[in-house]
């Protein structure tokens, strides 16, 4: 199995593709498909990726740093909280068949994700293997299982 940092980075790319697919469906006016694809993306990110980070990876990093109020993980958790709200708003835009609002939200969310992912990939993931007792094997397996559930 690949290292945890590689698995998490690959999952970012996988999830980006799912979001792009939903955006393409909106562009095509395929609203039901767009709603389904957005939910697949949301499930993979919120219930998979973020869940693993918040339950396992962030606490491991905080233990390693000796700071359970670390600025990096505090900022990343805040980012997750904001994204959850944005996903609800995107789902509502699709429900309302409001492509303009969806595109505005998509632009903001993609910017947030780009910056959030870059921060994780440079400041968090490289230090996880040393911070986790199993070098991240269990967390990696959970992410891979989620990816298998949500093929892009």
């Amino acid at each position: 199995m690949a290292d945890i940092d590689q698995i998490m980075q690959h999952d970012h790319e996988h999830l980006d593709q799912l979001l792009e697919q939903s955006a393409h469906a909106v562009s095509a006016g395929a609203w039901r498909e767009a709603a389904h694809l957005l939910e697949v993306f949301r499930h993979g990110l919120v219930d998979g990726h973020m869940m693993v980070e918040e339950s396992t990876l962030f606490p491991a990093f905080e233990r390693k740093e000796g700071d359970d109020d670390h600025p990096l993980t505090t900022l990343l958790r805040k980012g997750h909280q904001d994204l959850r709200i944005f996903f609800e708003e995107m789902a509502e835009a699709i429900q309302d068949q409001d492509a303009e609002s969806f595109d505005d939200l998509l632009s903001t969310v993609q910017t947030i994700l780009k910056q959030h992912d870059a921060k994780e990939e440079t400041e968090l993931y490289p230090y996880l293997a040393a911070a986790l007792p199993d070098r991240g094997e269990a967390a990696g397996k959970r992410i891979l299982a989620c990816e298998a559930e949500t093929p892009s």
């Binding site: 805040k78 944005f86 505005d104 910056q115």
Partner: protein, 148 residues
């Protein structure tokens, strides 16, 4: 007006202790904006989108989204209500938020569904200032005022 690490923190406003300030108006509406340390963290803002007048927002939903070259995020409303005014000047010049976050760069005015409980989830006075100072310290923010 309190100041910490160069960041202005008006004591008479209400804060969500993260990015947002609120000012109760005489007509029962609340004006919303983002704080001085928040605008500093955001960097030079280049894009602002604000929900249209008449939009109803549940508590926690974003009344606006802001983007700079290095940051993007939403402005959450801590209570449910309807947008009754928005600052059109920000749509043309989002950078105004970096210049005058508490005055000219207010973002929107919102009429709360339940005025009696609209401020239940925000803080004001010394308690708010102390929490905001901790926020500034945690993120190591040093505010700088843009003149234009």
């Amino acid at each position: 007006m309190s100041e910490y690490h160069g960041c202005e923190l008006p004591e008479d406003l209400f804060y969500d202790l993260d990015y947002v300030w609120l000012r109760p108006e005489d007509d029962g509406t609340l004006t919303i904006g983002i704080t001085d340390p928040a605008q500093t963290m955001s960097g030079r803002l280049q894009k602002a989108r604000i929900k249209k007048i008449g939009t109803h927002l549940d508590a926690g939903r974003h009344v606006a989204t802001l983007e700079s070259g290095k940051w993007a995020g939403g402005v959450p409303v801590p209570f449910a209500g309807e947008v009754i005014a928005r600052n059109e000047a920000l749509l043309e010049d989002p950078h105004l938020i970096n210049v005058a976050p508490y005055s000219d760069a207010w973002i929107a005015r919102i009429k709360p569904d339940d005025p009696q409980h609209a401020l239940d989830n925000v803080k004001t006075g010394p308690e708010a200032i102390e929490a905001l100072e901790a926020w500034i310290k945690r993120y190591d923010v040093q505010c700088m005022r843009c003149s234009e």
